[in-house]
Amino acid sequence: MSRITKLWQGASKAADPSDRRFAAFVAAMSAVVILLVIGFVVLLTIDSMPSIRKFGFGFLTGSVWNPVETELNHVNFGTLPFIFGTIVTSIIALVIATPLALGSAIFVSEYAPSWLGGPVSFIIELLVAIPSVAYGIWGLFVLVPFMRGSVEPFLQTVLRHVPILGSLVAGPPMGQDLLTGGVILSIMILPTILSLSREIIAQVPRLQKEGMLALGATKWEVLSQAILPYARGGIIGAAMLGLARAIGETMAVTMVIGNSSRKISASLFTPGYTIASAIANQFTEADSAMYFSAIVELGLVLLLVASVFNVTSRLLVSRLVARKEGADV
């Protein structure tokens, strides 16, 4: 921040009353943003208190989700299967999206001529603008049959006899399962990781790149020995932001993940739930106070987990960008 900006921002202190009133007014407007964040945490915590009191950590570690009281089964809310579904789909999404996004980012910022790189990254970033429900319908009617008919049988024939990987592809290919959920998520977080990685790669000091080129390095050597080491922290941050988005994404996943099985199994061909899709599927059925409280607690868990990843990602990215600004002076 420049010295002028600091002077300007502080200017209201010396100025006339109308300035102070204006400052107070915009400060009040922005206070609403802070109040909203506090409100989110407080309200969701209060409303999930009944469930927290009754189930404690069992809410996160239990695997029986039974909202209806019967003689044999008591009401119980254990969300481990949902948490498992969220973790598995997010990891799949990250494993697929990161190489695609990073490769694309490297292509548009280092390899492609600018007449090509600009439009390519513009088009990929347009993926952000597509509403979640559109991914959902495409996933449901195009991706699911394709996964069931081609990808999953193919994975099965290839991996069936490989020791550990074989259990990932056990069972009949369902189409609507964790794997498809992860694939649709990977498409959705691709532009997030791409645009952030591109920004980070742009921060790499020109001198380092040119220095290597002057020594006769190939483009790959510049990339692997100058750009990537410098940008590594930021790229991890970009991937984490993608992860945060994958964890919170709801509609598209809800439409392709199956929402039927509540058991945890090693096979990626098992229909499942994520935390978000469980909320979207079950909130209308929350007739009892405890059921309501349990769903709000799911929301609270989602809020906390997504925020932690988001903040970590910002820290990783901003450290890199701050370093660059320092180097400029």
Partner: protein, 287 residues
């Protein structure tokens, strides 16, 4: 003069370099291909069911041919506009505070809160309004839907307006201040008018984003198969209609879901595509 070993090494380095370019290009075109694949499917599957009735009639019960999604289009327009009206003062006010006054702890807290809100999963916003409004005041309603959308819009508006205000040169502020203009007049009559068109595009970006949101509306506006202009009652919206049609078992409804998706993507895509193109050029010129 190269010795044989050295030229082999040189060749290998060239090959690895070339392979990395090819790999990166392949990955980039794969990513671009995904967009064309999705949009292509939506256009091909959606265009067949588009006709005048689609935009002017309400949904027919299953079994009757025809009908449209006029009520959903109406609901989306009403709720999004109301959400924009609620969100604009807070979003723009926050941006002005951060750029023109933002010093000290409170300002850092505001910045942090905007970041947190912007990355909040949209379903959590739905759960929040569901727990706050729907469960306490008269059930699912259009107004609850609008509130949820406005919570989503506030950080988007704040961020984009912040970025835009940052581009206004300090010399402009200083010049006005040097003439003895009070700071609030500088901000409202000099700084803001300079960038008003860009602020407008920033707001449109937030509108486009909110118009496509489904999860928060699901928990707040719920959806409706009829025309409803009463904000206290459940209201239809295009994303909700798409979801309902898509997960239904009827082919006719699936076709309508594709067509609705085409309309939604056309609206959202044109809006945000134009905005992105415009702001990109604007930023470029001002640098």
């Amino acid at each position: 003069m190269y010795r044989a070993g050295e030229s082999g090494k040189f060749l290998r380095r060239r090959l690895v370099g070339g392979a990395s370019v090819a790999l990166a290009a392949t990955l980039a075109f794969l990513s671009v291909g995904i967009l064309f694949l999705i949009v292509g499917h939506v256009i091909v599957n959606g265009v067949a069911s588009l006709n005048a009735d689609f935009f002017t009639k309400i949904p027919k019960p299953y079994g009757e041919a025809g009908g449209g999604i006029a009520n959903a289009i109406m609901g989306t327009v009403i709720m999004t506009l109301l959400a924009a009206v609620i969100a604009i003062p807070f979003g723009v006010g926050t941006a002005i505070y951060i750029i023109e006054f933002g010093r000290g702890r409170f300002a850092s807290a505001v910045r942090f809160a905007v970041e947190l809100l912007a990355e909040l999963p949209s379903i959590v916003v739905g759960v929040f309004i569901w727990a706050l409004v729907v469960r306490n005041f008269g059930g699912y309603s259009g107004i609850a839907g609008s509130l949820a959308l406005s919570v989503i819009m506030i950080p988007i508006i704040a961020r984009s307006v912040e970025e835009i205000l940052r581009l206004v040169p300090d010399s402009l502020r200083e010049a006005a201040l040097a003439l003895g203009t009070p700071k609030w007049k500088v901000v409202i009559f000099i700084v803001i008018p300079t960038v008003l068109p860009s602020i407008f595009t920033g707001i449109m970006l937030a509108v486009a984003r909110a118009a496509g949101e489904t999860a928060p509306l699901l928990l707040t506006a719920l959806g409706n198969s009829f025309f409803n202009f009463d904000l206290r009652k459940p209201m239809a919206a295009m994303p909700l209609q798409i979801y309902t049609y898509a997960v239904s078992p009827y082919d006719d409804w699936h076709n309508k879901a594709w067509a609705s998706t085409l309309v939604l993507i056309a609206i959202v895509g044109i809006l945000s595509g134009a905005v992105k193109f415009y702001t990109r050029r604007w930023k470029h010129e001002s640098h």
